[in-house]
Amino acid sequence: MQPSLPGKAQATLREVLPRLVLSPSLFLILLFVYGFIIYTGYLSLTDSRMLPSYDLEGFGNYANLWGQRNWLIALQNLAIFGILYIAICSVLGLVLAILLDQKIRGEGILRPIYLYPMALSFIVTGTAWKWFLDPGLGLENTMHLWGWESFTFNWIKDRDMAIYTVVIAAVWQSSGFVMAMFLAGLRGIDSEIMKAAQMDGASRWSLYTRIVIPQLRPVFLSAFVVLAHLAIKAYDLVIALTNGGPGRATELPATFMYSYTFTRNQMGVGASSAVIMLAMIASIIVPYLYSELRERR
């Protein structure tokens, strides 16, 4: 190193330093996110089986994918799960937020109780609910012991109903979080508007339906985006709760991708299912991020 850098070089260094600091992260993201997306996209067009192969074979994997009964089941399950999960979490979250916003004594105790499941791993949630929903050990057994002999609740063992148990456990985990989002939204509403409306004799019901809830639109949108992307990515919870069963009754795209890629030696099909998952998430996230970033400037 020279004792003193020429002025010009120093100025250049100063100019470049910020970009230099950013570059390792950018490199990691470009390689491990976008490079990998391209790689997986390429594999989805090859005849990869147990190991990656680089022989292109066109869109055969996609045709194969859409012909797989398991994939169609996974998509159907995702639709059921996603719609119910988003709808129930939103309604429950909104109702809880409105109820908690009524000058409740003990709000400081109730709020964290509603929210703590969000801090748990889905594996823990799944373990707890698997047991709770087990007819022989959990709720059904308890009701029998309490004297309600005819009570049955065996959804987790029932092919047609098992997917709804995934909804139950997922709602338990996420609804408190949606509540917190709505509560923050409610607290941000100008109370002057509310007072004015009340002076005009608006009923409490119409106050909420006409004034408050419409103002929460951005929160609905954020909640939708967060929940939808969580639903599409849902994997751990199903593994811990039902492991995709009974049979393949609770298969979701994420479990489908994993089993086709790593245990059934159909990597090409697995890669194409991952591409479809990415496309689903991108179609929700990209417009959202775009509008959010634009509004800012």
């Binding site: 910020p18 390792p24 992260s25 950018l26 990691l28 470009l30 491990f32 996110v33 997306i37 790689y39 997986t40 594999l43 990656p52 809880l96 109820l99 916003d101 000058k103 409740i104 109730l110 964290p112 109780i113 509603y114 929210l115 703590y116 499941p117 801090a119 748990l120 791993s121 889905f122 594996i123 823990v124 373990t127 707890a128 698997k130 047991w131 709770f132 959990g138 309490w146 338990w172 917190a180 923050a184 409610l186 607290r187 509310m194 409490r204 951005p218 954020s222 985006v225 967060v226 990515k233 751990d236 811990a240 492991n243 994993y258 890669a271 991952a274 990415l278 991108a282 959202y288 970033l293």
Partner: protein, 292 residues
């Protein structure tokens, strides 16, 4: 947070009572699974099989906890969950530290040293937060193998740093964007360079966002299952994967009480963080949800 939006429901006493009843009912709903886990983790197996999951233990036993921690058979040796708990810590600490440090510097550059194209870079990083990780599983397995860290804790650290970068950058960028530019300009005028400005001016007031980021990363990485299940081998398996193996193993008697003790053990670190600093936890969730 204590301020309530004006008008409130029912001034009537009955209405109020109903409101509290509903709220408490929901509290019971959220607490029930945790209660069931805790209560049954200190019962004997016989009592679980024959009894009611809601009832308090007749015979209190700490045995299931000891089993879960140091005796339960998960791999070849009956080691309990303790080695995997340590694996998780060895993975979480460096991953959180590195991703938070990188996020802080990225946020600093993206707000205070802007250059053409910085918004595109930020957009690329932001989108990376949301990708379904299935899209990277296959190439990641190969790259980890190529650089010789497949199946190691270092490999998992790398994975968690890479896929946590988007969020940590987002958190710091939004926080620093609100930091007055005048202070930065004044510091530059005084001859403070890139690093001095960062360490003397921005870092000292970054306490809250560092806490938010660390909690967010800690919770996410501790709770991760997919990467652990895909890339860890036996010696580096994190807690969530070990717990799942314990609970779903089909050999031998199902020791439910041990499963519950294990589940609570796996939940404990994040629960403690949540109880101690719930406020920051919520702030992280919000920042992750409301982008921009």
């Amino acid at each position: 947070m204590a301020r309530s939006t004006q008008p409130s429901f029912g001034t009537g006493k009955l209405m109020r009572a109903a409101l509290y009843a509903v709220l408490i009912l929901f509290a019971v709903y959220y607490l029930l699974p945790l209660f069931v886990m805790l209560v049954n983790s200190v019962k004997t197996l016989d009592e679980i099989r024959g009894g009611n999951m809601m009832s308090l233990p007749e015979v209190f036993t700490i045995e299931p906890w000891l089993n879960a921690w140091s005796r339960a058979q998960i791999g070849v040796e009956p080691t309990g969950l303790s080695p995997y708990f340590i694996n998780s810590i060895m993975m979480v600490v460096p991953a959180v530290a590195i991703s938070t440090a990188l996020g802080a510097m990225n946020g600093y550059v993206l707000t205070k040293w802007r250059f053409p194209g910085d918004k595109i870079i930020f957009g690329l990083m932001l989108f990376a937060c949301f990708i379904p990780f299935q899209i990277v599983l296959i190439p990641m397995a190969r790259v980890l193998g190529m650089i010789g860290i497949a199946g190691t804790t270092s490999g998992l650290v790398l994975v968690h740093v890479v896929y946590g970068l988007g969020f940590t950058t987002l958190f710091f960028r939004n926080y620093y964007a609100a930091f007055p530019d005048e202070l930065i300009k004044a510091a530059k005028m005084d001859g403070a360079g890139f690093w001095r400005t960062f360490t003397r001016i921005l870092l000292p007031s970054s306490g809250p966002i560092i806490v938010v980021t660390v909690i967010w990363q800690f919770t996410n990485i501790w709770n991760d299952f997919l990467f652990g299940a895909s890339f860890a081998d036996f010696d580096s398996m994190p807690m969530t994967v070990a717990l799942n193996n314990l609970v779903s193993s089909s050999t031998g008697v199902k020791e439910y009480n041990v499963h519950f003790a294990g589940a609570v053990l796996a939940a404990l670190p994040t629960l403690i963080v949540y109880v101690v600093s719930g406020r920051y936890f919520v702030r992280g969730l919000m920042a992750g949800a409301v982008k921009g």
